[in-house]
C-alpha cells in the first residue's frame, strides 16, 4: 500500500514587501519596492503511512502551518511534490477535499449566532453525506467528544474549549481519511487539552484515520504520536520515533542514587553537577558522554542502595534541538 502522505523536497517561499521605518525609507520604498524572501518551508521530505499519528514539531515560525496548508491544498508550493491519497492537494479536487480535513485552533467555520447543528447541516449537504451515515457520525462524535447538548446552543455561547470540540466535530462530519490538525489544543485548559488528546487517539483507533498534528504542547506529542517530525526554519531536523529523538538530542542524563548511609560525595572531576541532595537521595547531571564514567565512579565510591539513569524531560530535549546545539 502506498503511503497516505508523500512529500518530496517541498519548498514554500513567501515574498513579502519590506517595510522600512522612517519617512525617507518609506518614500524610497514607494519608488522601488523592496521584497524579502521568507523561506517558510525549505525542502522537506517525508512519508506517512495509513493510520499513523505523526507529531509535527518546531518552534514558532518553523513552517508547520505553512506545510499543513500546502498539504491540505490551501497553498501552492514554490517547489516540490506532494501526494496525499493519490491527489495533488492544491488542485483542490472535490474528491480530495472530501477525504481530508484541516482543523486549525483559531479557525472559524461555524455560524457564530446559530447552533452548531445548523452549520453541521450545511456541511452535510455540501459533502453530500447521506442521512444514515450522517446520524452515525454525529452519534460517534457526540460520544467521543462528549458533546452533550453543545450542538443546540448558539456557538457564541460556548466556551473556547467547547467551541474547539464542536469545530473538531464539524471538520470530521465527512469522515476524512487524513486529518491535518494545527495546534488543536492551543489556548485550552489542561483538562480540555487532555480530552482533545484522548479524542484524537480514540478517533484514530476507531476509524484508522491518518493524523498529522502540530502542537507546541509537549504533552500532546507525548500522548499522541509515536513518531515525530521536527522542523526548524523550514528544514527537517529529525524524523523518527519519539524515543529516538531523546536518545539523539538529549544533551545529558540525570543520575539519581539512593545511598545506604550518609557520606561525603566523591570528587566528580567536573564531569557532573550535583542537582540536589535530599536526605539519602542525590541527583546529579552528567553530559551524555560522561554519564557511564560518572555512574561507574559513583557505584565504586559510594554505598549505593539504588541507582537510576534517566533521560531529561522531553521539553528540555526539544528545547535543545531548537537551540541548535544538539549533535
Amino acid at each position: 500500500m502506498p503511503p497516505d502522505i508523500s512529500v518530496r523536497q517541498l519548498v514554500k517561499h513567501y515574498v513579502v514587501p519590506e517595510r522600512a521605518g522612517g519617512l525617507r525609507a518609506s518614500f524610497r520604498s514607494v519608488l522601488r519596492r523592496k521584497h524579502r524572501l521568507v523561506r517558510a518551508v525549505d525542502g522537506i521530505s517525508f512519508e506517512v503511512e495509513r493510520g499513523e499519528v505523526v507529531g509535527f514539531l518546531g518552534p514558532n515560525g518553523a513552517g508547520k502551518t505553512t506545510a499543513l496548508k500546502v498539504l491540505s491544498g490551501l497553498l501552492h508550493p514554490t517547489d516540490g511534490q506532494v501526494d496525499v491519497l493519490g491527489y495533488t492537494p492544491w488542485d483542490r479536487r472535490a474528491e480530495y477535499l472530501s477525504r481530508i480535513t484541516l482543523i486549525m485552533g483559531q479557525r472559524q467555520q461555524l455560524f457564530w449566532d446559530l447552533p452548531a447543528a445548523d452549520s453541521f447541516l450545511v456541511n452535510k449537504a455540501v459533502f453530500g453525506i447521506d442521512d444514515a451515515v450522517y446520524k452515525r457520525t454525529v452519534d460517534l462524535l457526540t460520544e467521543l467528544l462528549d458533546l452533550g447538548d453543545l450542538l443546540t446552543k448558539p456557538v457564541r455561547q460556548l466556551s473556547l474549549g467547547e467551541r474547539m470540540k464542536v469545530e473538531l466535530a464539524a471538520g470530521l462530519l465527512h469522515t476524512p481519511r487524513v486529518l491535518f490538525l494545527d495546534e488543536p489544543t492551543i489556548g485550552l485548559d489542561v483538562t480540555m487539552q487532555q480530552r482533545i488528546r484522548e479524542f484524537v487517539t480514540a478517533y484514530n483507533a476507531e476509524t484508522g484515520a491518518t493524523v498529522l498534528l502540530t502542537s507546541h504542547y509537549m504533552a500532546d506529542v507525548k500522548a499522541l504520536a509515536r513518531r515525530v517530525i521536527v522542523i526548524d526554519q523550514g528544514k527537517l531536523l529529525y524524523d523518527g520515533a519519539l524515543a529516538g529523538l531523546v536518545q539523539r538530542y538529549a544533551p545529558h542524563k540525570t543520575i539519581t542514587v539512593h545511598l545506604e548511609r550518609s557520606v561525603d560525595l566523591p570528587d566528580l572531576n567536573g564531569q557532573a553537577e550535583v542537582l540536589s541532595v535530599e536526605g539519602l537521595q542525590v541527583t546529579v547531571r552528567a553530559g551524555k558522554d560522561d554519564a557511564p564514567e560518572v555512574t561507574g565512579r559513583l557505584l565504586t565510591q559510594l554505598p549505593i542502595a539504588d541507582l537510576s539513569v534517566e533521560d531529561p524531560p522531553l521539553e528540555e530535549v526539544i528545547d535543545q534541538v531548537f537551540r541548535g546545539d544538539g549533535p
Binding site: T66, L75, L97, S98, R107, Q109, D113, D118, L121
Partner: protein, 268 residues
C-alpha cells in the same frame, strides 16, 4: 464553476442557515431597507416637482411614481452586496475554511445575497404597498410585459451579483476594492436608470447607457414592465443583457481563478 449535485444542495442548506443568521441583524436590515425606500422617494420628489401638473419628456407625475416604485423593488432584488459580504471575507483570510469544502466559495456569497434579500423583502413589501396606496402610480402593465419583466429581473439580479462579485474579488490584490466599486456605483447612478429613467437622458448619453452594462442591472427590467420600450428596443435590450451576463460570468471565472492563484501563492 461546475455544478455538482451536492453544490446545489449545499447552497440551499447554506441559504437556509444564512437566513436564520440574518435575523440576528434586524436593526441593520431595517436601516438598509429604510435607505432602499427613501432614496427612490427622493428621486421621485425631484422629478415630481419638475413635472408639476405637466410632463417631462412624456412622463407625468404618476408615471414617475410608477417608475420609482418599481425601481424600489427592482433595485432591492438586484442589489449587489458582495463588496460588503464577500470582499471582507477574502481580505480577512476567512476564505480558507470555505476553500476546504468541495463547493466554490462564490456560492457562499450567493447564499448570503439571497438570504439578505428574502429577509429584508419582508420589511420592504408592507412599506411598498403603503406607498402605492398613497402615491397612486399608473402602472401600464400587460401580461406580456410582466412575463418579460420576470426574465429581465432574474437576469439583472444575476448580472448584478456577478458584477458585485468581480469587484469583491479585487480584494485578492488590493485593500481598496471599495474605491473601484464606488466608480461602478457612480456610473449606475447616472447611466443605470437611477437618477433618471434612461429614456430621459440626452441622446449621446442614452446611447452610452444602452451599450454599457449598468442599465441591465437596474433600469431595463423597469422599462420592460412599464412598457416603455418598442419591439426593437426590447429585442436589443435583451440581447445586450444576455451578452453582458455571459461576459460577466466569464470575467468572474477568470478573476476568481487568478485570485485563487494569488491567494495560494501569498499565503492563505
Amino acid at each position: 464553476m461546475i455544478l455538482r449535485r451536492t453544490t446545489l444542495a449545499g447552497a440551499l442548506a447554506l441559504t437556509r442557515a444564512e437566513i436564520a443568521d440574518m435575523f440576528q441583524y434586524r436593526v441593520v436590515l431595517f436601516l438598509y431597507s429604510l435607505w432602499e425606500v427613501v432614496h427612490p422617494i427622493v428621486y421621485l420628489a425631484v422629478w415630481g416637482a419638475i413635472a408639476g401638473e405637466g410632463d417631462v419628456g412624456g412622463l407625468r407625475l404618476s408615471d414617475f411614481a410608477a417608475y420609482y416604485l418599481t425601481f424600489m423593488l427592482v433595485s432591492h432584488v438586484t442589489a449587489a452586496i458582495e463588496i460588503y459580504t464577500f470582499g471582507p471575507m477574502i481580505q480577512q483570510g476567512e476564505l480558507s475554511p470555505h476553500l476546504l469544502r468541495p463547493m466554490n466559495p462564490v456560492w457562499v456569497a450567493a447564499a448570503r445575497n439571497i438570504s439578505y434579500k428574502s429577509v429584508s423583502m419582508l420589511l420592504l413589501i408592507p412599506v411598498w404597498i403603503g406607498l402605492v396606496i398613497i402615491l397612486r402610480p399608473t402602472f401600464s402593465i400587460t401580461a406580456g410585459s410582466a412575463l418579460l419583466f420576470v426574465v429581465a429581473l432574474v437576469v439583472a439580479a444575476l448580472l448584478s451579483f456577478l458584477v458585485g462579485t468581480t469587484f469583491a474579488l479585487l480584494a485578492f490584490w488590493t485593500t481598496r476594492s471599495f474605491s473601484f466599486w464606488e466608480i461602478w456605483i457612480g456610473l449606475t447612478f447616472l447611466l443605470g436608470g437611477q437618477i433618471a429613467p434612461v429614456e430621459l437622458l440626452p441622446g449621446f448619453v442614452q446611447n452610452l447607457a444602452t451599450a454599457l452594462p449598468m442599465r441591465y442591472t437596474l433600469g431595463f427590467p423597469i422599462e420592460v414592465l412599464l412598457n416603455r420600450l418598442d419591439a426593437g428596443e426590447l429585442a436589443l435590450g435583451f440581447v445586450l443583457q444576455f451578452a453582458w451576463l455571459i461576459a460577466a460570468a466569464l470575467i468572474v471565472r477568470t478573476v476568481w481563478r487568478a485570485g485563487i492563484r494569488q491567494y495560494s501563492a501569498v499565503g492563505a
